[in-house]
Symmetry: C2
């Protein structure tokens, strides 16, 4: 059942002992939303803890710590579109017990007993802020840090097309309430690990240009992961680099997996639709960010991708 | 004489044929402010043009074109703290004729007959927006693009410490008025020239770590400029890279000039004050961004910088 903001606030006021679930491989928005909600519930005298199937990345430690166990009586999920996203163990344990889900994904599968959904919100934190205001809780510095973290991380520091005037006004309000916006943005967007820097160097050195320089192509081998000390978790940031080059329309980042097959990340500038290009190779995704898997040797994979991109540019 | 917003609006309404001067080596804020003011003056039936001593970078062409000559009767400067910043030719021609200056630099030398100054504004465009509102002009998409450009470029896409709730609220208003925020941010922050990419690769390959990895040190030689096809104008973006590495406190980018001497750019994380470190070598600047010049051989220069940074870290 879909519910309103008022109904959400009433539900939260009527219950206690909340276990708040973030999605697995947690990011700034799911964690910011979960910890902001926990803090607000604590402020109205409720017990609440945040749980996640995966360990929190240490860069988010300023917004709180998850717990492993909690004697809950009410189960809430935030920024979770599908129970699969809770992570396997949590899905098995909690999937059919979630009483409330607060989410901003249009694809939300309405798995919870009640769902507060706003698909126009750039971040789950936008909706959580509205919930907190509805609860009548004052926004302190900690809540402001949590909400700001979600707003800025889910919009790439206010750069993505999901940003609305509401997003920016909420960010303004959070700065006014004491959010450490400069420190948070520095930690999220201006900090690179040494292993990432080493991998980026190798990746950029591998870059080749094709199709009149409209296609920039990075290949990351298992050997590069070994040399740099980096791993797959640091590849996402690299995938955005080839498209940044002036004149490039499609950026491809192909990485070798331990079994020798390849995972391909493709980015484009509109109107080129890389979800269609990746579909030619059995993959899919969004128009400007898609991917596919290839189980052929590296030279053949490269050739195949170039041919498909060529078709996609026609 | 310092004047108020009301007095500024009255002055603009009482005059006509405005020549609006940006500062030399124009950036997004001085150009955004100048073209927004021109558009607003045009809308209330006044003639106005924008002039600059230097050619506009092509990436700003969406906000207008400067003219070389204009039969003006009223001379206005925007985002200009000192007549020196107009560029040599313009300084000689116009310095003592400027009737109004609208600026946000606390260091403004009050060279104009009247000055509207707000040193708390993150961008000159914040003040220009207030002026335009005071003139009663409706913000159309073009004005919104101009103002948004100034807001985002002078704050590094809302990352620098000069950002205030007002900055973010004005950005929200501009998006609401149709500013192409995504396209503008992509053009300003997500686009790299091929020559820049080539230079960045060479620069990153040159990077060495010192002082327990607290100092990251990039050296750019004349040979690297030749190899990459890049030039000095593209070094600024590189200077911010070494400080981004986890654990690095001071980032140094030393570039060789055609005469074989070196220009040093230094960046730090607070509380380390690189203006003091650069002062040891005859330079200066801001606490987290400073520079100096060295006229000694490269190895000696490197050694000297490491020693001074070491003292600065103590």
């Amino acid at each position: 059942m879909m519910i309103t903001l008022d109904q959400t606030a009433e539900f939260l006021k009527s219950k206690d002992n909340f276990m708040i679930l973030s999605h697995g491989h947690p990011d700034g928005d799911t964690l910011g939303a979960a910890f902001a909600l926990k803090a607000a519930l604590n402020k109205i005298g409720k017990k609440a803890e945040v749980c996640c199937s995966d360990t929190m990345p240490s860069k988010f430690s300023y917004i709180g710590q998850t717990v492993d166990e909690f004697e809950y009586s009410t189960l809430v999920a935030v920024d979770v579109a599908d129970t699969k996203l809770l992570g396997k163990a949590f899905e098995a344990k909690y999937a059919d017990k979630i009483e409330l889900c607060i989410d901003h994904h249009g694809s939300n599968r309405a798995f919870a007993e009640r769902t507060l959904l706003d698909a126009d919100a750039a971040a789950a934190c936008e909706i959580i802020l509205s919930v907190i205001r509805k609860l009548g809780v004052e926004i302190d510095r900690h809540i402001a840090d949590c909400i700001f973290t979600g707003l800025t991380t889910d919009t790439g520091c206010f750069r993505y097309s999901n940003v609305t005037p509401t997003t920016l006004r909420m960010a303004a309000d959070m700065v006014e309430c004491g959010a450490r916006n400069v420190e948070i943005n520095t930690a999220m967007f201006e900090t690179k690990t040494k292993t990432y820097v080493a991998l980026e160097k190798l990746a950029m050195a591998s870059m080749k240009m094709y199709l009149d320089d409209k296609l920039a192509f990075i290949t990351i081998t298992q050997d590069m992961f070994r040399q740099s000390g980096s791993d797959e978790s640091e590849v996402d940031a690299i995938a955005s680099l080839p498209r940044q080059i002036e004149g490039v329309v499609v950026g491809v980042t192909m990485r070798e997996k331990p079994d020798g097959t390849f995972k391909v990340s493709m980015r484009s500038h509109a109107p080129v639709d890389v979800s269609k290009i990746c579909a030619m190779m059995g993959g899919g995704g969004h128009p400007q960010a898609a991917g596919c898997q290839l189980e052929i040797p590296v030279d053949e994979a490269t050739q195949r991708i170039i041919e498909c991109v060529k078709l996609g540019l026609e």
